[in-house]
């Protein structure tokens, strides 16, 4: 009879104990798979939000703008016409979205602050799919319409309604002030809490006139076509004579530190997963140790019959390994079964995300992948196997005489 057959049969000698060990591995595998799915889902969501709403794949700004951003330095802008002409010749660009960020005050009984962005709505339909997030009303009718779209959250905060008129006070490029009256023509609702608390859009041309920007914009966002290397493209843009000096050209990853933190955190999560598996493996270690002590006479008999110490180790190791393999497999399947509805419908964190400055959507969808499933399955088996090696080796050190004498 082969060792494998013997080990397999031994599993069923105490079904409850084997089941307990299996369940521990199964739960660990399933949980880690779901955790990895959640982190991947968050990362994907954050990447999409950062590119679509905030930074594009590449952002062009005046080199000094970021340093003085707190002072709203509109004079440190990017010339729109010459930049657009220069960018037109570059292959691989999908959309170019020029924007002007304007901190504004709504003067009513008290001054309420909000950040308005002057954008080209036709471009934004393609860039951030702004029309998809329009819940009521419409987008401004023309590039010269003095109309504004606000988020529902801002509408409530400012205590105004659709079609109301609001007068906003801003600082102009030359440091002076200007006020303009806008009709609220549309209401937006974004999936990201941070966007909902700050998004208000006016037409780009109106914004340029309002802030006396002439041909300047505060930033130009570029969305690349799929499979285009954004780093390489950023380098190409930096070589353009029109944008060679005085401009900051960065990819979204270079700008956003939180995403980089996510990537770093992923490494930490792998360590956490290993610790989690080791904890789960204590159950199987415990079970194997109990089996070794329980079958002391049997080990003695096997030794007396001529079975080598290594073979005895293998026997117990195989027994635990079979349990770990089956449990990890079932855990991976269970993880995917639980994960599929969470990947479709997502987990609602919107309550917890309110007031948090993070570009993650309120509803986060899990991202399940075959790579993660195989990786977690293998982790589970490797960690369990390593853990079970210790008690299995103990069985090999037992002398047949001592084993046979034991009660």
């Amino acid at each position: 009879m082969s060792l494998l057959t013997m080990a397999y049969r031994n599993i069923f000698r105490n079904k409850r104990r084997s089941l307990l060990s299996g369940i521990a591995i199964l739960i660990a595998t399933m949980s880690i798979l779901l955790l990895f799915g959640l982190i991947d889902g968050m990362k994907d969501d954050m990447k999409k939000n950062l590119i679509d709403f905030y930074l594009g794949n590449i952002r062009i700004r005046n080199a000094q703008y970021t340093a003085y951003e707190h002072l709203n330095p509109l004079m440190l802008g990017v010339p729109l016409s010459s930049s657009m002409n220069a960018l037109a010749g570059i292959e691989g660009i999908d959309t170019i979205a020029p924007r002007i960020k304007l901190p504004a005050g709504l003067i009513r009984d008290t001054e309420t602050g909000l950040l308005i962005q002057a954008v080209d709505f036709e471009v934004e339909k393609k860039f951030q799919h702004i029309d998809v997030y329009l819940k009521e009303g419409r987008l401004p009718e023309s590039p010269d319409a003095r109309e504004i779209v606000l988020t529902k959250w801002l509408l409530n905060k400012l205590n105004v309604n659709l079609n109301d008129k609001i007068t906003l006070l801003i600082q102009t490029k030359t440091g002076g002030t200007n006020a303009m009256t806008f009709r609220i023509c549309g209401v937006l609702e974004y999936p990201v809490a941070m966007l909902n608390s700050s998004s208000a859009y006016i037409p780009l041309r109106v914004g340029q006139y309002f802030a006396r920007m002439d041909d300047l914009v505060t930033e130009i966002l570029i969305k690349t076509k799929p499979a285009v290397d954004e780093k390489l493209m950023a380098q190409t843009i930096k070589m353009l004579p029109e944008l060679q000096r005085d401009y900051e050209i960065k990819t979204w990853k270079e700008i956003n530190e939180i995403y980089s933190f996510f990537e770093m955190a992923q490494g930490i999560y792998i360590v956490i997963a290993i610790v989690f598996f080791i904890l789960a493996s204590t159950v199987i270690i415990n079970t194997t140790l109990m089996v070794v002590f329980e079958r002391m006479k049997e080990i003695g008999t096997l030794g007396a019959l001529g079975m080598e110490g290594g073979e005895i180790t293998k026997l117990f190791f195989l027994e635990a390994l079979i349990i770990a393999c089956v449990a990890a497999f079932l855990g991976a399947i269970a993880g995917n079964i639980v994960g599929i509805p969470l990947a479709i419908y997502g987990i609602d964190f919107s309550g917890a995300m309110q007031g948090i400055s993070m570009e993650v959507s309120g509803v986060v969808r899990l991202k399940l992948s075959l790579v993660n499933t195989v990786l977690v399955f293998c982790y589970s088996i490797i960690v369990s196997a390593c853990a079970v090696l210790i008690p299995s080796r103990q069985a090999a050190h037992i002398k047949p005489i001592q084993a046979l004498r034991s009660t």
């Binding site: 003085y68 330095p73 004079m75 440190l76 005050g105 003067i107 008290t110 001054e111 003095r146 008129k165 007068t167 006070l169 600082q171 102009t172 490029k173 030359t174 440091g175 002076g176 002030t177 200007n178 006020a179 303009m180 009256t181 309002f210 006396r212």
Partner: protein
């Protein structure tokens, strides 16, 4: 002996007290003379604000009309601010912008905002009340600034709702015009410095015509306020300082 010493001390204290009293009175007189110099019935002028900051130099042209110490109207004439108006009445500051359908009444914290991006705030425009109604004199001394002999009078607010709780005024001994002023917070932190570079003498009044203002809470900024073509005590349209006129 003891009686003599007591008498001596009492008489010395009395002399010092009388001297301080005399000086305090003269400080009040100086303030009154200084305010008298500002007591112009009407004034109109054109001028410019030159703002220096880390981003360069900005120039904004304007016309100004004032009536007494309470009412004034500023109309900007430079390209970027063309048509913008600031009306100050006894009660409030109002802003008119050609692209806004409503007149903005500034109050509370909004008054602390910068006027046209300069080192001046709207708050600096408010309050036509006499200095002596709002402040008490803390001390008086003398100093020469740029060959101009000045009284240096330190005043402390006796009311709460005031932009600058403590001020130091350098008043020209000859003309009783302001040469320099420093505004401080209650904790005596320097908030703003005003320095008068040039004056225009007209109709017996000495009017500061080139003023340098520095907001000491900001870095690398200063504002020059230059008044040209000053005319005083001419008849002005009584509706000039009305809200109705603001949006016309």
């Amino acid at each position: 002996m003891l009686n003599k010493i007591t008498k001596c001390v009492v008489s010395s204290v009395a002399v010092i007290f009388v001297a301080v009293l005399v000086q305090a009175q003269s400080a009040e007189d100086i303030i009154r003379r200084y305010e008298q110099n500002q007591n112009i019935k009407t004034m109109s002028a054109s001028g410019k604000i030159v703002i220096y900051n880390q981003f360069g130099i900005q120039e904004k042209a304007f016309k100004i009309w004032s009536r007494g110490t309470d009412d004034s109207l500023i109309v900007f004439t430079s390209k970027d601010e063309s048509g913008q108006k600031i009306l100050r009445s006894k009660k409030a500051v109002y802003l008119y912008y050609p692209d806004a359908e409503e007149i903005i009444r500034l109050q509370g914290a909004a008054l602390r905002n910068s006027l046209a991006g300069s080192d001046l705030s709207y708050e600096d425009m408010t309050g036509g009340k006499s200095i002596l109604d709002q402040y008490v004199i803390e001390s008086i001394s003398e100093e020469v600034i740029d060959t101009t002999a000045c009284w240096v009078i330190k005043i402390k607010a006796k009311v709460n709702d005031i932009p600058y709780p403590i001020q130091k005024l350098w008043i020209d001994k000859k003309t009783y015009a302001l040469k320099k002023s420093e505004a401080y917070s209650l904790a005596e932190k320097l908030l703003k410095t005003v320095y008068v570079k040039d004056y225009t003498s007209i109709g017996g009044f000495v009017i500061p015509s080139h003023i340098v203002v520095q907001d000491n809470l900001k870095k690398q900024t200063k504002t020059e306020l230059i008044l040209e073509t000053i005319r005083i005590n001419e008849a002005l349209d009584p509706n000039l300082f009305s809200l109705q006129n603001l949006s016309m």
